[in-house]
């Protein structure tokens, strides 16, 4: 995608087609390829240019043009297709690469069983020198990358369970684990760290056995055909079950009658009796179960041998096929008595290619990455392309800043940002998918409106809408396609699509206008508040934040009000219901401020532009500053709806400083700090927080976290537990959700959570530091031994 300054050379913007294969080939760099027996995966790295709307200069261009700055981002592309199309694909790549010659003599990392066979072809087509990378090393590198970076990458599978898929969070602590690669044969790998791993064993009974025997036993010759055939069969016509031998259970050994005693053991029953009583489908199913059960058992034995409790599976045999995953899962759980957890990967097909690419790239290990929902196909979703073949795609964007877990999360390992798993909750899923589908027209209209002078805006917006609606429909059928389905993912997808179709910040003007307008009321708002004292003032400040939070263009009902009426701060205040609120800890909060010592530092995660930030949050922050508390205002790095972004926050603070002395001094003395969260959506994932912000939170000893708005306190983090005090404030501007939570439209969440009561050990710890004799401090790690001695 090419991007230029709008209004100048707009006509030259090339439209991304709705389904584009091998996107961004023009500026592709560094290829890697994993040539498997049946599937080939091409990986490449591209820099993508995208526009960021410039806030400060917005509206300053002639005739209302807005100014943009072109940014470069890095993206990893993965395209998966059947190996028999490898020549077509390489031709396509060759035709679309700009300046093919630049690759001549360069290396391409190649892995997979076909690496040897297609050596010449790669050299001929792209002039690249094949640099073969060890298959197993690639698998492990790729697997580590996915587990660390891609949220909901790994999952447990239970057929007909609720939910069928149980996803794991991404995180840095992934070792040790066992990786079982089921290709033609099976390799069992023990992985202890990025660098330490070994092949501990394997078995020859693998995907090749299923495929090869399947071809011999049935008329089907394709791997997928065989899988489909197996889906229809009944193995009980072919396999000898325990009950075929015993007439029932073999109870003294605890073997249930339905257990398979001998795979294919019934075949000989019919020899000499003429017509067999089983079908090809029965044979295929028996074969699939035989192979899957066997692999599960062997994996479980290796896991036991090496004392591992997590086993990840990858390789072409699985292809996220439910029956195989189910059988392997059952087998592992059965043989390990539930001690070993079988896990599968959403992107198992790409593991080798990712690894090969990373070996060639080198630098990518240190950055944070994010799955691009707009450019990636969901799993089990092949897409037809302009090339005439079916492919699967995965796009991963490099985060501009490094991210990590919020340091104040009570238990990062179990932290789950999302309040509702829509995959589990059908009612909620149906509602939200419908709700987002209905609201898409509003987003699209806003997007077109934001680029009045672009001749392509309408076209792009139409494609955006088509893509988003298709996605919603697809998620309706396959709620697990992108991991756990949540409101956060649905909102993020909108932002990914907006960026993809070059609508960098549709609400930019609106935000600027509202910020500037709100600033004109700031002085009088402060004056009003300063007339109050004590509990009254604290209450008024909270009410102010809540009223400000009404101004949310993402909420349909409020957006309508703002479009059709003269909806101002006073009107918003009037909508806030009387107390007690749906969740009402206001008195506790007042009590805390009145009786407790001032907080050292508060981190406030802000929501909307305009009234919200200026008349709600700023006076609230000002009050904290006056109490002697430092304040870090944390804003999104990238635009999302009318949420205030970090660059906008900086400008707004600068302007507010001209109006308010307290803010001015605090900014100057670095007691009021604006920071970016590295987030790009209306929700907040505290497991992917800007590293610098996390460091600042530690440095300034943050002891109060304030989360504001529906996205940050309701769709996400409602149940998040912190190690410090936490104040969650939101107005529920969605009737369905309000009713579901037991309230009504505009119900208020005012949730104040004191830090978890200190446990005994913590008390001892404090005592240890302050009172213990030094010899104890030297030796003790987490428990003071003085008490023991006494």
């Amino acid at each position: 995608m090419e991007t230029k300054i709008d209004g100048e050379r707009t006509h030259s913007i090339k439209l991304p087609s709705a389904v584009e294969v091998f996107a961004n080939l023009k500026n592709a760099q560094k290829f890697a390829i994993d040539i498997g027996l049946s599937l080939t995966k091409i990986a490449y790295y591209s820099t993508i240019s995208y526009r960021k709307a410039l806030y400060e200069d917005a509206g300053l261009g002639n005739s209302g043009e807005r100014a943009y700055k072109v940014h470069e981002g890095n993206r990893l592309h993965f395209v998966k297709f059947e190996t028999r199309y490898i020549e077509n694909c390489l031709d396509f790549v060759k035709q679309n690469l700009v300046d093919v010659e630049r690759f001549h003599g360069k290396n391409i990392k190649v892995t997979g069983g076909g690496a040897y066979k297609y050596n010449g072809l790669l050299q001929e087509k792209l002039g690249l020198i094949v640099d073969k990378e060890d298959e197993i090393a690639c698998l492990i590198k790729g697997c580590n990358f996915l587990l660390k970076n891609i949220s909901c990458e790994a999952f447990e599978f239970e057929r007909q369970g609720n939910p069928e898929y149980k996803f794991q969070k991404a995180g840095p602590n992934i070792f040790p684990y066992m990786l079982v690669n089921i290709g033609s044969g099976v390799s069992v790998l023990k992985v202890e760290s990025d660098k330490v791993f070994e092949r501990v064993g394997g078995t020859a009974t693998g995907g090749g056995t299923f495929w090869g025997l399947g071809c011999l036993l049935t008329k089907k010759k394709g791997f997928d055909e065989l899988l489909q055939l197996a889906e229809r069969g009944d193995h009980r016509n072919v396999d000898m079950l325990v009950k075929d031998i015993y007439g029932g259970d073999y109870s003294s050994q605890g073997l249930c009658g339905d257990l398979i005693a001998s795979s294919f053991g019934k075949v000989t029953y019919y020899s000499g009796e003429g017509k067999p009583k089983f079908s090809e489908a029965d044979l295929a199913r028996s074969l699939l179960l035989t192979v899957s059960n066997d692999i599960g058992q062997i994996a479980s034995l290796y896991a036991t041998m090496h004392k591992m409790n997590k086993v990840y599976f990858c390789g072409y045999f699985l292809r996220n096929h439910p029956l195989s995953m189910h059988t392997i899962s059952c087998s592992i759980k059965y043989w390990s008595n539930g001690k070993v957890k079988p896990l599968f990967l959403r992107h198992e097909g790409y593991v080798g290619a990712i690894g090969a690419f990373l070996y060639g790239a080198g630098q990518s290990d240190e950055c944070s990455w994010l799955e691009n929902y707009a450019g990636s196909s969901g799993f089990k979703e092949s897409i037809s392309t302009n090339l005439g073949i079916k492919v699967d795609q995965l796009e991963i964007d490099q985060a501009e800043t490094a991210v990590t877990f919020c340091p104040l999360l009570k238990d990062p390992a179990t932290y789950n940002p999302d309040t509702t798993d829509l995959a589990e909750d059908k009612e909620a899923r149906d509602y939200w998918l419908q709700c987002f589908e209905e609201s898409v027209d509003k987003f699209v209209a806003r997007a077109i409106h934001s680029q009045p002078h672009s001749p392509t805006a309408k076209d792009r917006a139409t494609k955006l809408k088509e893509k988003y609606i298709n996605r919603l429909h697809y998620l309706h059928l396959q709620p697990f396609a992108y991991g756990t389905l949540t409101v956060r993912v649905l909102l993020d997808t909108i932002e990914h699509c907006m960026k993809e179709f070059d609508f960098p910040d549709p609400y930019l003007h609106q935000k600027k206008k509202e910020n500037e307008e709100a600033l004109t009321y700031l002085k009088s708002r402060i004056t009003t508040l300063d007339k109050l004292e004590g509990a009254e003032k604290i209450k008024a400040l909270i009410l102010g934040v809540l009223s400000g939070n009404m101004f949310d263009w993402g909420a349909q009902a409020v957006a309508d009000l703002m479009e059709t009426t003269d909806f101002g701060f006073a009107e918003a205040q009037a909508k806030i219901p009387g107390r007690p609120w749906l969740q009402d800890n206001l008195d506790d909060w007042i009590e805390r401020l009145k009786t407790g010592p001032p907080h050292k530092c508060a981190a406030i995660f802000v929501d909307n532009s305009g009234v919200d930030i200026v008349l709600g949050i700023l006076p609230f922050a000002r009050d904290l500053l006056q109490r002697g508390t430092k304040v870090i205002l944390c804003a999104n790095s990238m635009p999302a709806l009318n949420d205030v972004t970090y660059p906008e926050l900086v400008v707004t603070l600068r302007d507010a400083a001209k109006i308010c002395k307290v803010i001015r001094h605090a900014l100057k003395e670095n007691r009021l700090i604006a920071m970016e969260t590295a987030q790009a959506g209306p929700c907040l994932d505290l497991s992917r927080l800007n590293l610098d912000l996390c460091l600042a939170m530690v440095k300034h000893k943050v002891d109060l976290i304030v989360l504001e708005g529906m996205g940050r306190t309701l769709h996400t983090n409602l149940h998040a537990k912190m190690t410090c005090e936490c104040l969650k404030l939101a107005v529920i501007k969605n009737r369905w959700l309000a009713l579901r939570l037991g309230g009504d439209m505009y119900a208020v969440i005012c949730k104040y959570e004191p830090p978890p009561t200190k446990t005994k050990i913590c008390d001892v710890k404090i005592k240890m530091k302050e009172e213990c004799p030094s010899e104890c401090m030297e030796s003790a790690t987490d428990v003071c031994t003085c008490d023991v001695k006494e």
């Binding site: 044969g185 399947g214 011999l216 015993y246 007439g247 290796y302």
Partner: protein, 406 residues
């Protein structure tokens, strides 16, 4: 006749652990005779004859028959004609009907059971022929003779009704694994050449059976390969546990072979396999990597994927029945070997004893198992085999017979 217990578990234990009888041939010990004298006279016992032990498996039924050789004149006079006929029929023939066989090479002469001296005969027939077996038994007048037969295996439960209805026989049912272990110890202690291993399993010119002294057996892993596979840890005659198993067993081999080659019997399948070459069917490490897989020390001629070449049409056209049979045999055998080896490692056991009828007339599998155990354990593990591979359940069952006729 009243219930006569000739061999309590306690005396049985003494019996099997006494190693006095390891001198020559099939000679047995005097010990059980002395002990049994206290309980019942040989004459009384005689009335409970014929003595059978039966193990009705998923595919094969195993029948062990004790032929008394110490019949006194009085006994002979008293013996009913039917019993004589049955004895004659069983001992003078080595084939019964179309599918029943007596394994004459396994016959054990001059053995002592419950104080009687005689010969053990080993007979087998496909479980699918149970109907014919019962008809034959009926035609030989069995229904008029005994009312109780000792049986084990799943079929003891499944066919209990048929036995009662068709030949008026009650089945005294014994646990399969219990019988297996008892039978195994009895035969192993009675026959000094019972246990052996294969030396140089990969070198046909040097490879041979070598007797193994199994006098200090514990602990060992017992892998019973019938239609399916059971894996037991054995720490003592009464101290054992089924720890694992797999459904890929003899039944899988035969089933797949029948489907792939059109053969009908185990013997045919083994014969086909003997003349085949699995490397035309399987994908070897060198087929993928051009040689050894260096980074992880996998030799080039190791099977990487069983049947891994059969997804290619050309390859399918280039293999014959023999190759397919061989590949099936190698696949099943290696898989059992690999599971058994890991179980042994997890249980910290070094000796693995393979039994079961899958190993009958099947040196290919035995040598493969012997090689696999040795290679993958770097010489720390040993695969052991027993001559009466598939009959221990039936023998154990016969031993547990308490002599009652009602």
């Amino acid at each position: 006749m009243t219930r006569k217990s000739t061999m309590s578990p306690q005396t049985y234990k003494n019996h099997v652990t006494t190693k006095a009888m390891t001198s020559n041939g099939y000679n047995s010990t005097e010990t059980p005779i002395k002990e049994s004298k206290n309980h019942s006279s040989p004459c009384e016992l005689f009335k409970s004859m014929p003595w059978f032990g039966m193990d009705i498996g998923g595919t094969l039924s195993k029948l062990v028959y004790f032929e008394p050789k110490d019949i006194t004149r009085d006994e002979a006079d008293a013996e009913v004609e039917t019993l004589k006929n049955i004895r004659r029929y069983l001992t003078k023939n080595s084939a019964y009907g179309k599918t029943g066989h007596r394994d004459t090479h396994l016959q054990m002469d001059n053995v002592c059971i419950r104080g009687r001296r005689g010969t053990l005969h080993f007979i087998r027939f496909p479980t699918s022929e149970m109907g014919n077996f019962l008809a034959l038994a009926r035609s030989k007048g069995m229904a008029n003779l005994v009312t109780t037969v000792c049986a084990t295996g799943g079929g003891a439960y499944k066919f209990e009704k048929n036995f009662k209805q068709e030949v008026n026989m009650n089945l005294a049912k014994f646990d399969e694994l219990d019988s297996l272990i008892r039978g195994m110890f009895y035969i192993e202690t009675t026959n000094p050449h019972e246990c052996y291993y294969w030396s140089y399993p990969t070198d046909d010119s040097k490879c041979q059976k070598v007797p193994y002294d199994f006098s200090e057996p514990y602990p060992f892993l017992l892998v019973n390969i019938g239609s399916g596979v059971s894996i037991l840890t054995v720490y003592g005659p009464e101290n054992y546990k089924r720890i694992s198993g797999t459904s890929l067993g003899g039944g899988t081999f035969l089933g797949l072979c029948c489907l792939l080659t059109g053969c009908n019997t185990f013997e045919e399948a083994i014969e086909l396999a003997t003349g085949g070459d699995n490397t035309k069917v399987d994908k070897l490490v060198k087929d993928i990597y051009g040689g050894d897989y260096g980074p992880f020390g996998l030799p080039g001629d190791l099977v990487a994927s069983s049947f891994g070449q059969m997804n290619s049409k050309d390859r399918r056209n280039a293999v014959n029945k023999e190759d397919l049979a061989r590949a099936t045999l190698v696949t099943i055998t290696n898989n059992i070997g690999s599971i058994a080896r890991m179980c042994a490692v997890n249980e910290k056991i070094e000796r693995v004893v393979f039994v079961g009828n899958f190993l009958r007339v099947n040196p290919i599998s035995m040598k493969l198992l012997a090689y696999a155990m040795d290679y993958w354990s770097k010489g720390t593990m040993k695969a052991l085999f027993l001559e009466h591979e598939g009959y221990f359940g039936a023998v154990g069952c016969l031993l547990q017979f308490k002599g009652e006729t009602n």
